[in-house]
Amino acid sequence: MSRILDQELTAHGVAQVIVFLSPALRCSLPRRLRAASGAQRAPRPLAPLARHFVRHPHGQAAQLARAACAPAEPPAVRYYPQLGILLGEATRAGIARLRASAGVERVAGAPSLSLIRPRRRAPARLATTFTWGLRALQADRLWRDGWTGRGVLIGHLDTGVDGSHLALRGAIESFAELDDLGRVVAPTPAPYDTEDHGTHTAATLVGRPVGGRHVGVAPDARLASAIVIEGGDVVARVLGGMDWAVGRGVRVLSLSLGFRGWWEDFRALTALLRERGVLPVFAVGNEGPGTSRSPGNYAEALSVGAHDRERRVAHFSSSQRFARARDAIVPDLVAPGVEVVSAKPGGGYQAMDGSSMATPHVAGLAALLMQARPQRSVDEIEAALFASCRLPDGVSPERAHRGVPNAARALAALS
């Protein structure tokens, strides 16, 4: 069994598989069943194989159907006559039975494919004193008591950051660029952004007020920011950035990136971050219900999905249920992630959508709590954030899990 398939089964209890029918079985099917085109329900002659598939509540098909409020569950298995395959979800035992069945040539894991969705960007003016996201969190209620993130260092691994932006002046404690093997490039360049994503997330974390207008949740916290992603992305760059940030002494790590699906490798690292006193706040992904990204989908991470101004979960926000006792649903919570206005490289502001935008809201909020209660552990800060959440009316916990956090309630939970 492939490692990827094995990991899917361990994580979810089921996996999507393709069953390749043997030529003998295909030839034995009536002509009309061989000549048809398009996916269809498994015909009667294939019923002995179809019964090994399941319609599992943790499966992607069921999660998609629930999220779409579909009136009927999708069939457990589909037959593709022109390809001679069955496609559906099966448990570990079911896969073993399929492999042992007559008429089965091969059983393989079916990779989850998804569109590469362009992130929405729009020019924006900062027209209000507080962005809608800051208001939704009620971050200003903590600022009034002096909890602005001062003294807290946040790790920010992204496309870089434009350190000359008015909202980010004085906000960058340290900056690094990692090479393809995860080594810090010397000499260290002045903070710059290879795109615009990193400047946007950085200013949501620690943006200073400009003209009395705020975009940053923790406007006195500082960043250890590193370029780890752009064209030609490699794993070691992300690890090198994490390692560098931990070495700088960050207390929160805000990561608005991830690997699609389940990657076991980063799980031990995420647990290690917590042991080192770093709260890992990771985006869950932008591929919708029944999907998630690693490391945001680990129980060891604080994973963040996106909601809009009306507190509805954004359609693109990933969510998924895992077959594990602890923290089975991701994301852990949802935060402002639609039409989020933040800094744009070179000056000015722009609006973006994504769980990438929601993540720094929560990481910034964690920084406020860490300033206010510096002795509290990572687990306690996380628990306070969870305790502050409320599930908006009509929103399913399968999509939003605990719901929307609140700054004042989180601080109260630590008192």
């Binding site: 093997l181 794993v235 390692d243 070495g247 990136l257 031990a268 690292l269 994504g354």
Partner: protein, 113 residues
């Protein structure tokens, strides 16, 4: 003392195995990311412990293959490292029981935002 194993029991990413085969055919080096097992001691491994573990592992692979890694980057705080080396050197590393898992540094598994 850790000993090299005959077969890797580390969890190795299939794409790294494919890259190893391709690199062997082309006789060229490749890059891998390696995650170490945690020892019996309680608590998180210290950065110094990670440095020492990586150094021992690399020395062991050097003795095994008579080669050296072209480049190594140790992630002291993450109990892991990345290396560029020949396929035989990387296969030797993967056989070491101190290795928990490994994956390709490049390719289809790249992160996106």
């Amino acid at each position: 003392m850790s000993q090299p194993r005959d077969e890797a029991s580390a969890q190795v990413d299939p794409s790294l195995l494919r890259e190893l085969e391709d690199a062997e055919r082309a006789a060229r080096p490749l890059e891998a990311v390696v995650f170490l097992r945690r020892g019996e001691a309680a608590g998180a491994p210290t950065p110094d412990q990670t440095e020492r573990a990586v150094a021992k592992l690399l020395r062991s692979a050097e003795r095994d293959t008579g080669e050296r890694a072209a480049a190594v980057s140790v992630f002291r705080n993450l109990h892991s490292f990345a290396l560029a080396a020949s396929p035989s050197f990387i296969r030797s590393v993967l056989r070491d029981e101190r290795v928990a898992s490994a994956r390709s540094n490049r390719g289809a598994s790249a992160p996106d935002r």
